[in-house]
Structures are given as structure tokens and as C-alpha cells.
Amino acid sequence: MVIKMHNRTHTLWPAALLTTIILFACYLSLTSAQTSPPSTEFKDDNVKKKNDSVRYQIITVNFPYVEVPYVICLWILLASVAKIGFHLYDKLPHIFPESCLLIILGIVVGMTLFYTETASMQQYTLDANTFFLFLLPPIVFDAGYNIPNRPLFNNIGTILTFAVVNTLWNTFGIGFALWGASYMGWINREIGMFSCCVFSALISAVDPVAVLAIFEEIQVNEILYIIVFRRVMYRMMVGFTAIGDHDVEAVDYGAGIVQFFVVIVGGTMIGIVVGIIGVIITKYTDHVRILEPLFVFVICYIGYLSSEIIGLSSILALTFSGVIMKHYSENNVAKKSAVTVKYFSKMMATISETIIFMFLGLSTVTDSHDFQLDFILFSVFFCLFFRITGVIILSAFLNRYRVIRMSAIDQFIMAYGGLRGGVAFCLALLLNKSVVPERELYVTTTMVIIYFTVFIQGTTIKPIVNALKVERAGEKDTSMNEIIHKRFIDHLMAGIEGYCRQSWTQFILQQVSGNRPCQISHHVTGPLQNVAPITVCLKETRFDYYNTKYVKPFLLREKPKIRDPSILRTFTKLSVQDAKAAVREMTRDSSVPNLSAFAKPRANMFSRRATIAGPGSHDHSTVVNLNSSDPSFTNIAAMEDTLRDPMTEHMSSVYPPPLPHTHTCKPNGSLIDTHTRILVTGNSYRIFHP
């Protein structure tokens, strides 16, 4: 079955790609066709009136009308189809990160446009507004909304320390080093100090866009905070540069530092306020369920824009509002709305990411370049050097206070996994030439560095990590025992810590260094799993207590009934797994027609139901041949597995789990009754006989 599908799509996707390219070619010819007639019309205006008799035109071609959206959609389509192809060849995704593919595609498109000399390049350059208003928010929102909160909050001390200190170290280190090199004449160019710092600010950190393709999970958290601070630093440096190298006074330095904190705190506050407003609104959306995703997106976006007005950290605002929305409003909105928000945010983030990388490829070919080899080499060297030293020093410091030390391998991954990506490039493109005269140099250098990090580091890191035998987090199939005892130990440790806490300084230090035992798992491959609380040692902190007692009743529609949902969640998940396994085992021998012929097919997958009776029920048990390759059935199950909904509300009755290998359903061995209906309720499966 799998092989069949493979073959089919094998022929399918080249066809699709071909179609897209043909469309593209049509577009090219259309633009060139369109540019000529207007000019001739203009010239021969009078002549035309006399000589030409214009017949009634059945079809008129009017391309400029749709040009911009058409090109964008074509672009996105091209990239997405290419991604399909990319993933079909099994070997490729293992070697190259997806961002490589996107860059190459961008280069191809760029070359096509360049050599056919269509459309002036001005149309395809990145504009500050487009980037900050439209391309960046989806990425940030996706990160904020879809990050698993627990690892984030548990490691927050480490993450913040790394983010702030590491970014500062990198920025100033690289900046001063480059300026020093220029001053000493190692680089054949005189570059002002602040100008260097602007460059280092935009190059010093890593990017979510590129790194997400390779590492997921905890790196995401790091990255998010780094990008925040990086942007702040960048703004600061640009601010200083605007004043001019020699006019900066002590007051300005002070103001710069104050601005740093004001921006961060202000952005956070706006994010939290906006998030809370959004959650309260979702409390009352009983009758307008359709609008719920709208509320989530629009309110967060308004928060972003509002903080942009005053120049506060809009990224932080968006992140925090996303986190708050996720945490509280998911309980308020309908399940479908939650799914909509999740998928839509991911989709928009993918689109943004695609466009950014395509721009990168495009600019490689088309922009005017200022290629200065010595500057580039020095930058690359300093970037690596400062990143590695930063990671080593910080880890050594933090390890003194952490229970779980960051091993050498962890540190290597953090240092080597520092990929720059599209966002750095966009920031470089947006530099104002009058303020920063070395703009072209920076753009080119950034581009080279991105290529270096994405292609070379990106492709080599997997083999290196494999060689170092990093512990991969395997499939987490948790048993009931594990989850219960783990939670038990969490509570125990919280209590004991209360007895040991000796002073406020120790308390703060423990908080900062993340003394709570937590696991940094190295997911080198695999998608971002919705990390259940079990992988993280969560202790019931004061925050949880006040959260449950005061905040949740205010913000949530219904008071959460269960104190500790993780145990219940694991239980239902395991019961569902057992039920599915039971069905599959039973149907292995019987030859029964495909179920889908009998079940009422409905458009909405959630309403397709199938159930297996448990012991002690009144229904007659039946054999069901759920064709195990029936994709929709597995899809329902998969979707319900991945939805982290409070299933407890739907748990009307729980059947005792069937003992393994002793099935409660008695095989009937015959055809299913034509009237048989199959019913899936939230967590259990049942077959009805009328």
C-alpha cells in the first residue's frame, strides 16, 4: 500500500512542478507582452485612431491587474510543491535541512528572472514594512502559540541567561573585534565602531526560521528569546549610529541602557494585557464560535502593532500574548477553533519562512554585491569564536547551579547549531544606506554567512551528532505507573525543597539556574512533539497554585474540574491505544468488507465514529474489519491523539481497560450487518448493533 502510493506521487509531483513552471513561463511572457503595447499606443495615439479599427474583444488580457498576488501565490506554490518533492525522496531530508532547498529554489527563480530580464528588480526587493508588518508576525506568533509551555517555563532561567548574556557577549565581542580588525588594518576598510556593532547585532544570534528545520523543541525556546533581544540590540545600535560615531555622549549610553529595559518590560506588559483581554473575550463567544480564531489572531496582531507604535518590543508582546492565549483560551474555545488556530498559524509561519528564504536566494543573484573577502572571513571566524566561547563560559557558570549539568555534547549542539537565517538577512536588507553606509557590504557578508551556516553547518551537524551518539529521545510510550509516580515525586520534591530553602539568595539562584531537574532531550530528528508534562519535571509551584485558585476562574469559562490533568490524559490515551490494538488484532483473520462502505460518510471527520464495546456493556460485541489502511480512521485517531484538549469533559464513562491479549470482543467472523454503525466518542470505541 505504501509502495503504491509512493509510485503514484512519484509521477505526480514532477507533473505538478512542471505545471507550475509552465504557469511561471506564461506569466513571464505575459509581463513582457504587456509592457510593449501600452508604450506603442501612447506614441501612435493619433495615428491609431485613424488607422486601427478596434473590434470587439472577446478576451482581453489584463495581467498587471493581478500581478502582485499572482506572483506571490505562484511563488508559494512553487516552494510548496518543491517541498513535497523534497520529502518524497527519503534520503534528502536526512541530509539537507529544508532551508537549503528553499534557498536553492530562490536562486533558481532569481536566475530565471534575471536572465530573462523581466520585471525590474524593484518589484522584488524586500521592503521594511512588508517584512516587519507581514512576514515576521506569523513566525513569532507561531513560536509563541505552539511552544510547549512547560519546558519553557521550567528552563526559563537558563534560557534568559543564555539569551541576554550570550547575545550581549556576541554582539559586543564581534562588533569590537571587527572594529579592531578594521582599525588595525587587517581589513582594508574603515568601519566605524557603531556600524560594526550594528552588523554584529544582526548577525550574532540564531534564527528560528533556519534552526527549526533541524532542531526542534528546546532550541525553539532559546531562539525565541534570542531573537527578541537581538532585535532590541539591533535597534539600539542603529539608534546610536544615527547619532553618529563621535557625537555620542555618556547620556546617550545611559539612555540606551534605559531604553533596553523599557522596551523589554513595556513589550511584555502589552503582550500580557492584550492576551488577557483576548482570553476574556473568548469567555463569551458561545454563540459566535466561528469568530473565535479571528479573535485570537486579530487581538494578538493588534498587540503587536500597538507596541510597534511606541517602539516597544513587539516580538515580546506577540510572544506573550500567544502564550497566554494558548494557556487559557484553549479551554474556552471550541475544539475546532483550537485546531483552526493551530494549523492556520503554522501555515502562515511556513509561508513567511518560504518567502524569506526565497528572497534570500533571489537577492543572491540580483542584488549588487560588495564582496570583501577579508571582512567576510573575519566575520565568520569571529562569529564562530564568540559563539563557542560564549556557550562554554555560560554553561560552566550555570552548571554550578543546575542539578542536571549541560554536558559537553549539549554545549556543542548549542554552539554549532547556531544557524543564521532569513531574519538576519532581512534585517541587513533593511538597513538605511544613509545611516549605515556599509549596507551592501553587510548584505553580502550576511548572505555568505547564512549560506555557510545553513549549508555547511546544517548538513554536517546531523552526522556529527550521530557520531557522538547523542541520546535520542525515543518514542515516549509512558505507562500509567511512570506518570503517576513521576507526578508523585514532583510533589514530593516541591515539599522537600520548601524545607531546604535556606535563604532568599539561594532561592533566587535556584530559580535562575533552573535548579529544578529538567531534561534537555536531544530530538535530532522528528517533528516537534506536543511535549506532555511528563517529560519535564514540573513542580507545583506557587504560580500553579495561584493560577488555579484565582486566575483561572476569572479567565476560563468553566472552572477546571481536575487538578492534575496529566494523569487522566495518559489514562485515556492508553485506553484508546488498547482499544485500537484490540480491533486490529481481531480483524487480522477475518475477511470482511471495508467498513467505509457501511459507515455513513460525512464531510466532517470528527463526526465519523467507531466504537468497541467493553466488558459489562449491553451492546453485542461485534467484529469490525476496520481496514487498517483506511486513512481516515487512523487520521481520526491521530488527530485526537495530537489534540491536547481537555478530554476529561467528554469522559462520560470509562470502560475498564481490556486486558492485553485477552479481548473482550468476541469474534463473530462474519459480515457486518448493514445497519451497523460505528461510534467514536472522545476516548472509547463502540460498535452498535441496532
Binding site: N481, I489, I496
Partner: protein
Amino acid sequence: MGARSSMLQEEEISEIHKETGFSSNQIVRLYSRFTNLDKSDQGFLRRADFLRIPELAINPLGDRIVHAFFQESGGDTVNFRQFMRVLARFRPVKKNTQKNKLNDREEKLKFAFKMYDLDGDNMISRDELLNVLHMMVGANISDEQLGSIADRTIMEVDLDKDGYISFEEFVKAMERVDVEQKMSIRFLN
């Protein structure tokens, strides 16, 4: 702190160090913590002293934790030695140092096990498990559901099918869990 630490004799410190593995600095610090808890200044702690800290009020297992201290002491009061002996179990396990018998993996697990096992028969019965579940999960779950959860939990590890979880079965259930790190606190030196 100065006046109080002089009440802790040098020999006592070295004895505690031998028994538990804490360094002298850590012992002195923990002693000051002990005396902070000891409001009535009697040199030992009672139940009320334990229950006084705010963390325990919000902790669903608060009573059990306090009970664990008293299980160690075997009486109504807990003196400093017994206090330290309990805390010693939460010292991180260092790989290359001499294995102190109080903080290795088995001792840690035994401590957790004893917190489940109230009647001390070295078995976790279904009722004992139900009690703990009830405390952790909250009051709004029906007993039926809690019962199924408890049944499933026992069934998962009950190798000898006696309906109880023995200590060996408990250890086996936790073999994938990194207990050494989960049950450790880094005491400041």
C-alpha cells in the same frame, strides 16, 4: 546564626557528615534552617512546625511528606539528626564519589515507596494507591474512574499477580525514569 551554630558540636557535625555525606558548610546551613523551623526553640520539631511552611499548604501530598519525616524518627518529634537523614536521600548522586548508602537510587525509590505504603507492609495495595491518586488528582473525578486508573496501574507492573505492588515491582516500573536526577536537590555549599 552565630549563637546557634555553636550549639552544634564539632563531633556531631563530623558524625552527620559520615552518616549522610553532607559537607560541614551544608550541615551548618541546614542546621540554621532547622532552628528557623523550630519556633519553640526546643531542639526538635513537632508536626505543627512542619506544617507551618507555606509550600506545604498548597502541596497535595503535604501530609504524606510530613509523615515521612516522622516515619524516619519513629516518634512524635524529629531531631536534627533524623531531619538530616531524611534530607540526605535527596543529595545528588555523583558518579565518581564513594557511594553513600543514603542517597543512591534504591534508597531514593524506597523513600518514595514508603510514602505510598502507609501501613508499612512493604506492599502498595489498591486502596493505598487510590488514596494517593485522590490526593493528587482532585475531588471531581468519580471513584469509578479513579478505580480504573488504579486497577490499570497495578495491572501494568504486577508480575506475580497478587494485586499489590511490591517494592521490586515498583523499582522495575521506574527503570526508565531518571530517578537520580528527579529526586535530587543541589544543596548550596
